[in-house]
């Protein structure tokens, strides 16, 4: 299926369909459901320099066509990832990309340094946009200057593909995108979750232990599409689009507005085989419309 191949900078993808960090575990949890080699890549769980217990229960609330989460980057830390998880997933026949979070520039750099030796990790994604922990990087993601700082610092220790994941909780996402482009990012991915809230009116309490949390799922798709479109018109580096994708049609929408590849997040919970279905759907759309390569869709919106 050559017509499905795309590149994100130096990164080669057999197709543009990937799965989003925090919604796909360490990928192997999905191998019961479909053959992971069918998709372009997987973004594993947000990884931090030290182990994190995350936020207290309850961490989830359902909302109209979406959900709020307040996981708070629970993970066993980068050393555990390197020694215990990496060996188990390195031979998955697709791109395994690590999502990295931190509370200081140094955290990100240290984390990246520990991952450099893992030659089956072709890229990292810098999460400068987690709304769920004070140290989740959202402060970086809402300020162009510090976003550039993190990017620049990690760039010095990481020479493979570096994707910077942007926060949608900003007035002007293009400002941040341009800033990280200037600081050496190979690509940007967007959007992370929108900051939201839900209330239990019987208990008169917030549904989440952290009061506010990150909104994801189909409800955010219109906002995500708009931000990808704005970013596409502002930067030259490739864009990985996400936010509410639940079917192949959604994926095509993202590509038309400028995404070179896409990630599926929340919908993995509803249909764990969705990523493979989206690959098939895109292939059929190309055939039906006589499009030679999926690359021809990128930014092909007629306006």
């Amino acid at each position: 299926m050559d017509k499905l191949r795309v590149n994100i900078g130096k990164l080669e993808l057999k197709n543009p369909v990937m799965t989003a960090s925090g919604t796909f575990g360490y990928a192997k949890e999905f191998s019961d459901f479909f053959d992971l080699s069918r998709i372009g890549g997987v973004f594993v769980k947000g990884t931090t320099i030290h182990e994190r217990q995350g936020n207290p229960y309850s961490r989830m609330a359902e909302t109209p066509s979406g959900m709020l989460n307040a996981v708070g980057l629970q993970n066993k830390g980068v050393d555990y990832f390197v020694s215990n998880i990496y060996p188990e997933i390195k031979d998955i026949d697709t791109n395994v990309i690590v999502n990295v979070s931190g509370s200081t520039v140094e955290d990100y750099v240290k984390c990246a340094e520990k991952l450099v030796d893992l030659d089956k990790i072709p890229a990292i994604e810098l999460n400068i946009s987690c709304p769920n922990v004070k140290e989740g990087g959202m402060a970086f993601g809402t300020c162009a200057k510090s976003a550039a700082e993190v990017t620049e610092a990690v760039r010095k220790v990481w020479n493979r593909n570096m994707i910077v994941k942007l926060s949608p909780n900003v007035t002007d996402i293009t400002e941040i995108a341009r800033s990280v482009e200037g600081a050496g990012a190979d690509a940007v991915s967007l959007i992370n979750t929108l900051l939201g809230m839900a209330v239990d009116i019987n208990k008169r309490k917030p549904c989440l232990s952290t009061i506010t949390g990150g909104l994801s799922g189909p409800c955010v798709k219109p906002v995500a599409l708009r931000m990808v479109w704005q970013t596409y018109n502002a930067v030259k580096i490739p864009i990985i689009g996400m936010g509410g994708i639940s079917c192949w049609e959604d994926a095509i929408e993202f590509m038309l507005v400028g995404a070179s590849a896409i990630q599926i997040g929340t919908y993995n919970f509803i249909d764990p085989t969705i990523a493979a279905k989206v690959v098939d759907g895109i292939a059929a759309y190309l055939d039906k419309n006589n499009i030679a390569s999926v690359k021809d869709l990128v930014g092909a919106l007629e306006v």
């Binding site: 229960y57 959900m67 189909p218």
Partner: protein
């Protein structure tokens, strides 16, 4: 192995105003996957605009001969309401089987008490049947608000003695399960329980004080149901761990319910 399956409703019975029993089988006659008591399924509620996420429901029974999976559903909101309205012939999409399961005791003679409250009896039936089939002697202690909320007693009684409590005294002993006289008799080796958290915590405390082994099946809110979102965590002695994947069944020693 976990799978996603379209199953067809072979029977859907409204047990009372709030509960339905739904029986499902495969659409093509192929065998249902291997399931164990304590495990659950994630149901997609298709025609409900208000349910985006799947809904976790315990495996109430696996009828191997008829190749049927039973779900006992309590109407509490939109999703369970739609499920309870399922008609024969409807298709439900499920992820199954999910989670771990109750631990089979080593000694067939050990005295086992299976305690269910409300819809918490759902996994208890399957577990009771499973134990009996393997030569164990389970007993059941079932608690409910009132007589009409006591379900599947006839089915349970095929597998062992059944004791009941109701809060209003309309059936069995009046009060909570933890007050039932059968517990005073002592001699219980292991308790398995599923029900509202306050009930399970009370039972855990009782079991702990009596040095009875106890497993509880938790019902934390879930998004994925197979260990990838980390939303369903319970704070345990080993930190936050996923109820959907490392549970829903926990030995109470692992939990932090007893201080």
């Amino acid at each position: 192995m976990k799978t996603m399956l379209d199953l067809v409703v072979t029977e859907s019975t409204q047990l009372n105003q709030n509960y339905s029993l739904i029986k499902l089988t495969t659409t093509d006659g192929s065998a249902l996957p291997e399931m164990y008591p304590g495990q659950f399924v994630q149901v997609k509620v298709d025609d409900s605009p208000k349910t985006f996420l799947r809904r976790p429901i315990s495996i109430n029974f696996w009828d191997k001969e008829k190749n049927e999976l039973w779900l006992l559903v309590q109407k509490v909101g939109e999703g369970t309401k739609k499920m309870c309205e399922a008609r024969k012939g409807d298709i439900l999409n499920l992820l199954l089987p999910l989670g771990n399961y109750f631990t089979l005791p080593s000694d067939k003679k050990s005295k086992l008490m299976l305690i269910g409250g409300g819809v918490g009896i759902a996994p208890i039936l399957f577990w009771g049947a499973y134990l009996r089939e393997r030569g164990y002697q389970p007993s059941f202690l079932i608690g409910a608000r009132s007589k009409t909320d006591l379900l599947q007693l006839d089915k349970l009684s095929r597998y062992g003695e059944v004791y009941c409590t109701t809060e209003d005294g309309s059936y069995g002993e009046k009060g909570y399960v933890t007050n039932h006289s059968v517990l005073e008799k002592g001699g219980i080796d292991t308790i398995y329980t599923c029900g509202p958290k306050p009930m399970m915590v009370a039972i855990a405390k009782y079991a702990d004080s009596e040095k009875i082994t106890c497993e509880a099946s938790l019902e934390n809110l879930m998004a994925c149901g197979f260990g990838v979102c980390l939303c369903c965590v319970e704070n345990t002695r080993e930190g936050n761990i996923c109820v959907c994947e490392e549970g829903p069944v926990f030995n109470i020693e692992k939990l932090t319910w007893i201080s």
